[in-house]
Subunit: 338 residues, 2 copies
C-alpha cells in the first residue's frame, strides 16, 4: 500500500488550513489529550474547531477511551465527511487512528504529532492500536492516515526526557536501515533535518511491507528485549519511557549480534556509544536480566521456545527473523558473552 503524504512544515496552522481548503468536503474534529488541548491546540490558531479531549498517558490507551471517542463522534454527528485530526504524541495518534479506523468502518484521519517520538516513528506507518489486558497494542488495525503534518514548533514544550527517549527510535531506524541518517546524527545535523530523514527512512520500509510480515520487522531491532523490559517495569509499577526501554534493548541486542558474528565489534561499540550519549541509559543489570526472561517469553511475537530478533549486520543494514532459544540467551549471559 502506498504511503500517505508526510508534510514537513514550519507553520502547522497554515498547513492544516491549506489541507482543509484542499479537501472542501471534509469537516475536521480535533482529538486532543488533557496536555495537548492546552499546549498544542492553540498553535493551530483556530479555536472554532470542534474538539474531543481524552486523558493523556499510556494508562488510558484502552477500550474505554476508544468508546469515549466513538460516543463523542456520534454526539458531534461525525460522518464519512469528518476527518479526525489527531493532535498529540504516539499514544494519542495510535488511539485516535484506531477509533477513526473503526468508526463507520473507517473515516479519514490525519496525524499532527506533537512529540519527537511521534514525528519520527509513531505517526508514520499506519499502525493504530490500544492496549488490552495489560498487553501492549494487542488490539488495532493497519490503517494509514490521509496525511501527517510534522512541525518541530511543538517540541519547545516537550520535556527533555521525552527528547532523549525519542533518540532511541531515531538511532534504531538509522542502524537498521539508513547509514546516511546515522552519520547525520553523528554530525549533529539540525533536529529538523533528522526528523525529515528518519520519517522518510521509516516510510521507505513501511511501503515495502505494510502488514509487517517481512522487512518491516527490521524495525523491531531493540524491541524484543526492549518490549520485555517495558512490560517488566509496568508489572513492577515502575513506568519507563518507551525509548529508554528500547535503548537498553538495543545495547543488549547489539551484543547478541556481535556474539553471533553477524556484526563486527567496532560497529557494535560505535553504535552503543551513540545510544549512551544520546539517551544516557544504563545497560540492563544482571539481576534485571534474570527477571526479564519471562517477559521476553510472554511477548506476542515469540511463538514458542524460540525468541525472534531483528539485528543489525552493519551500520545501516539489518536482518530480521533471527531465532535464538531462551536457553542460549541464558547461557550467553552466564558466560559473559552478552
Amino acid at each position: 500500500m502506498l504511503n500517505p503524504e508526510v508534510i514537513h512544515t514550519t507553520a502547522v496552522a497554515q498547513s492544516l488550513k491549506d489541507y482543509l481548503e484542499n479537501s472542501p468536503n471534509l469537516i475536521p474534529i480535533v482529538l486532543c489529550d488533557t496536555n495537548t488541548v492546552n499546549l498544542c491546540f492553540p498553535v493551530l490558531q483556530n479555536s472554532q474547531l470542534k474538539t474531543i479531549v481524552i486523558e493523556d498517558g499510556e494508562v488510558n490507551k484502552n477500550l474505554n477511551t476508544v468508546e469515549l471517542i466513538l460516543g463523542k463522534l456520534i454526539d458531534l454527528k461525525a460522518n464519512r465527511q469528518t476527518v479526525l485530526v489527531n493532535l498529540g504524541g504516539g499514544v494519542l495518534t495510535d488511539i485516535g487512528g484506531f477509533a477513526a479506523s473503526i468508526y463507520l468502518r473507517g473515516i479519514p484521519f490525519i496525524h499532527i504529532p506533537t512529540t519527537l517520538l511521534g514525528m519520527v516513528d509513531a505517526s508514520i506507518g499506519g499502525k493504530t492500536g490500544i492496549d488490552f489486558r495489560s498487553l501492549k497494542n494487542q488490539i488495532g488495525t493497519f490503517t494509514h492516515p490521509e496525511t501527517t503534518l510534522i512541525s518541530s514548533e511543538f517540541l519547545s514544550t516537550l520535556a527533555p526526557e521525552h527528547i532523549k527517549s525519542a533518540w532511541a527510535e531515531i538511532i534504531k531506524t538509522a542502524v537498521i536501515s539508513d547509514e546516511a541518517l546515522f552519520n547525520a546524527i553523528l554530525d549533529n545535523t539540525s533536529l529538523d533535518h533528522i526528523i525529515h530523514l528518519c520519517s522518510a527512512a521509516k516510510q521507505k520500509i513501511v511501503e515495502q511491507d505494510f502488514n509487517d510480515k517481512g522487512i518491516r520487522q527490521l524495525l523491531n531491532f531493540g524491541h524484543t528485549i526492549g518490549h520485555a523490559y517495558e512490560s517488566m517495569c509496568l508489572a513492577n509499577d515502575n513506568e519507563i519511557l518507551h525509548g529508554f526501554a528500547v535503548a537498553k534493548g538495543m545495547i543488549l541486542e547489539l551484543k547478541i549480534a556481535k556474539h553471533l558474528d553477524v556484526l563486527m565489534e567496532a560497529e557494535m561499540l560505535k553504535v552503543i556509544a551513540l545510544i549512551v550519549s544520546k539517551t544516557q541509559v544504563d545497560e540492563i543489570s544482571d539481576t534485571e536480566f534474570a527477571n526479564l526472561l519471562k517477559f521476553v517469553h510472554a511477548d506476542k511475537k515469540n511463538t514458542s521456545e524460540k525468541v525472534t530478533f531483528s539485528l543489525p549486520i552493519a551500520v545501516g543494514k539489518g536482518k530480521q527473523g533471527i531465532q535464538i532459544s531462551m536457553e542460549e540467551l541464558k547461557n550467553w549471559k552466564n558466560q559473559g558473552f552478552i
Copy 2:
C-alpha cells in the same frame, strides 16, 4: 481488492478439513453462538476444535461481546497463526470478522454461514461490524475473510422465519443488479442454485468497489428505510429480523422510485408482489413512518438534510446516490404518493 474464494460445498466438514490441511500453519478456533454450538458445530465432525461461544442475537452484537471474544482469544493464546472460524448467521460473522480484524491488528478468519441470509449476503463482501449506541453497524472494518464455505446442509435447522427474511436480500440483489437471478426466483429454481447465483452477483459488485464508495452502494437498495426501521425497532426493544426490515424498506423505496419516475409502475408492482409473496411482510404503517424519519436522519450514510437512496430503474438495474430531502419524504407521504 480481489474477493476471497467462496467455496460452495455439500460436505462442509470435509471442506473445512481440506482448507486446514492446505494451511498447515494455521490453528483454528471456532466462534459459535449459543445456537450454532449445538445445531451446527456437530456438523463439522471435529469435536477436538477449540471453541468460543457467544450469546446469539442482534442484541448482543456489541462491544461487550467483542471484548469477550478478544479476551477468550488471549486465554486460548491465539496469535497470528490462529484462524478464527466464524460459524453462524450474519450477526456472528459480522462480529467475529470484526474481532479478528482488530486482534493483533488482524488475524485470518473464515466464514461458515449457517443461515440463508449469511450465505447470500452477510458472509460475502468483507464488511464486519457491531452496533453501538443502538446504531446498526456503527463500528466495524472492511476486511475480507480468507475464504467462505457455503453449504446448504445447515438450512434444515433454520426456522422458516429466517428463510423468509433472507429472501428479502436475495430479491434486493436481483432487482438492483441481476435480472437472471430475478427470473430464477420467479421460476422457483432450487435454493442451492439461487444461493450460488446470489453470492456470485454480490461478489461481482463488491469486487468493483470494496470500500463502498461507488457501485457497491447499489446494495443499499431497501436499506435506507430498512436500516432506519431496524434501528427504530432496536430502540423500542422490539427486535426484527434484518430481512423483514429490508423487505419493508424495499416496498417503500420502490414507491419512491416510481414517484420519481425512474421506475415504471408495472415493474414496481412486479417486484412488490415478489417481495410480499416470499417474505410475507406488511408495508410500513403511517404511524410507524412518522416515528421512522428521525432514525433515517441518524443513519451514517445520510450526510445532512438530504437522504441518499439506491433505487432500481428496472428489474436488474439500479442507480445509487439519489438524494431526497427529509421534507420531500414527509410531503410525499402526506400526499399519499409513497
